[in-house]
């Protein structure tokens, strides 16, 4: 049985569960979706979808941390919507800028097909584990939470230039990691 009492509320199908989840995490979920999609209306829709998906999946799912569970659902749904939008040549929010930053550090159409999903996740985990703690934190704030460079600088009490340098360094390491694994010749 998970320790998180809120997860237990979901498991017992208490209607207060969603209200409490919204109270605790709603702001963060909306902010994340907004950064990815850049649209307030879309962010609201995504947030609503997150609660309903969690409500329908728990049980049988029993996440250890509801917060992480909700954020992962939120990010996945927002990225799926961004994916569809990009296919129609429509942009997103902060995520669009983040995508452009990574372009030159990922193989793109020229690289060989990435390994299967499990292999890719292991590769990414190894890459992240190998980063110094601060660089890893900045990397995830930028490419998982899609905070802007300026927001990261404020949170970390660094200058914008310093953050840019650290992110650039991490991207370079990512590229080296991919080249070492043979993903990118």
């Amino acid at each position: 049985m998970p320790n998180d009492p809120l997860v237990q509320q979901f498991l017992s199908r208490s209607e207060e569960a969603i209200a409490e989840a919204k109270r605790r995490y709603g702001s963060g979920l909306r902010a994340l979706a907004l950064r990815i999609l850049g649209s307030r209306e879309d962010a609201e829709e995504i947030e609503n979808d997150v609660y309903l998906e969690a409500w329908n999946k728990i049980p049988p799912a029993e996440p250890e941390s509801l917060k992480s569970y909700l954020f992962m659902i939120c990010r996945r749904r927002a990225l799926d919507r961004l994916d569809a939008r990009l296919a129609k040549k429509r942009g997103g929010g902060e995520a669009e800028a983040a995508l452009e930053e990574l372009d030159e550090f990922l193989p793109g159409e020229d690289g060989r097909e990435w390994a299967d999903a499990i292999g890719r996740r292991e590769l990414l985990r190894d890459f992240l584990t190998g980063l110094p703690e601060r660089e890893r934190r900045l990397f995830l704030k930028r490419y998982w939470y899609f905070l802007s460079v300026r927001e990261i600088a404020e949170e970390e009490e660094l200058t914008v230039s310093h953050v840019k340098v650290l992110l650039h360094r991490s991207r370079k390491r990512l590229k080296e990691c991919l080249q070492k694994e043979g993903v990118w010749e």
Binding site: M72, L79, L102, D103, R150
Partner: protein, 563 residues
Amino acid sequence: MGMSSLDFFKDLNDIDETMLREAEPGGAEASGRKISRVRIFRIAGVTAAVLLLAVGTGIWMQSRGTRIPEGAGSETVTEPAASLPESTAAPESTAVPEETQKQTESETLPPETETESGSLPSVQRLPGPRILTEEEEMARWEAQQEALARLREVVSSAANQSSGGEQTAEYCLRYLTERELFGKCDVLLRARVTEVQNLSVQNEQTGRTENFCVVTLEPGKIIRGELKKEGPVRLYLSRYTNTSLEGLSKSLNGVQTGREGILMLYEMEDYAPEYRKELADYTVGDNERFAIWETAGGLSFAADAFPSFQKDWTLDQAAERIRDLIGLNDPAPSDFAVSFRYQVWGHVPEDDTCCTYDSRTGEYSLVGSYHMEEEYGRENLTGTVYPGQVIRNELYQICRDLKDLPEVLRSDAPAGGPDTVEIEIWFRANGAERTVSFSGKSSEMREDVRLLERKRTELDRSLSAAAGLRQWWTELNRIAAERRTKKSLEIADKLLAALEEKYGPGQAPDYYLGMEITSWGYLQILIASSDNKRELSNRGIEEIISLLGFLEGYSFTLVDVPN
């Protein structure tokens, strides 16, 4: 941008939770970020509440849905001098009931004082919410846009004609028929080029430069669609036009001052970066096929895209051919009627929304969506519109494309399961009826099913383009604003009563600066805030939430005040 970047983001989704927690964006107090807006909203169907803390001051805009501008991110946008309500007199608003007008016109409250006669004046109550006029909201929005524009760097550069502009690889274009090319755009019109500006903008965060062109057009005859406003039309193109590069498209090459052509314009998308929306109203589907130009040597156009057009035609002949293609010269049968139904199931059951339009009766209805019923009231979700002949022709042409499809298209998965859809389009013309339907997994759609999906989308577009429908939607928005205003006034009354019960008649805590109701009907509670008084504003928000006992139907606006 490469698709592999997006794949990377998706792969990054399932990383170790410990790493995620390490990088989690901090709370406002811990990080020192300024809370620019706290927004409360309600999830449909669930009486619940959310306390939303906006991250950074980039997200401060209101119910009109203004987006975060590119590069501004969490730039601290300095609001114009704290717009404390100078007067509590409510501006005129037709949505305000009389009893509330009286309440909002009461004066700002002084402490109790004795009058000259020695008797205490009657205790005045706390003022009710001020109703913002559309002009006031527009003025605030414009001030915000000016502030945002100051944050961006726009470098205007004229590209050298002989040296050429930036070369970018052309992407593969999706095949579209002539009729689709002329039919999918928002506006199809004749126009003359009056100005061409090649510009560039630098993204202050990534440092990358984008080169683009803004073309000013003098509109002539509109073949299809409507322009959003009168006067010159500004068109955004994603490349420089005056380059000497070989292989540049005929459409781009044809953009020259003084030249006339037939252009296919798309409205600038909501998701476009702010600077693009500021500089242009329209864009194009792609740089290859957006225009047919009239030149000294005849018509200039992408021959592969428009095979039925002749170079030695005049622009008038081209326009006539276009009218034939999109059915403007071919009236729909008098008994033509169309309806469609679209259901989609995602990971959870979605709204079952059914849209119906019957051209014989002009009746349009939208049923099944509890979101819309909540917002507009069920009684308002039907209407009667009589689109003009152009729209009816378009509808008829759209449905004519379905004649060769089998009536029923199925995939292995029946509708109702995860990721399935159910689409049905029914139309009747010349006494014959035709129904085409599909149910199953959208990911397994075949080409004919994709055509079906496209036709349903075109039907949506055509129906929404009908002027009568647009008026109906405008009326619906007015109804929604009235309903929201009524709810907002009820909440305002409750808050005022609770404040006076706690602090005394006519008294208010130091953080409370008043209330406003926007033209969309949203209630905003004004809370004093400054860099050194964040604790004050946080305490104020918590207290108000506690006094009201619920978290839905209102927002907080933090107003900068001197320390």
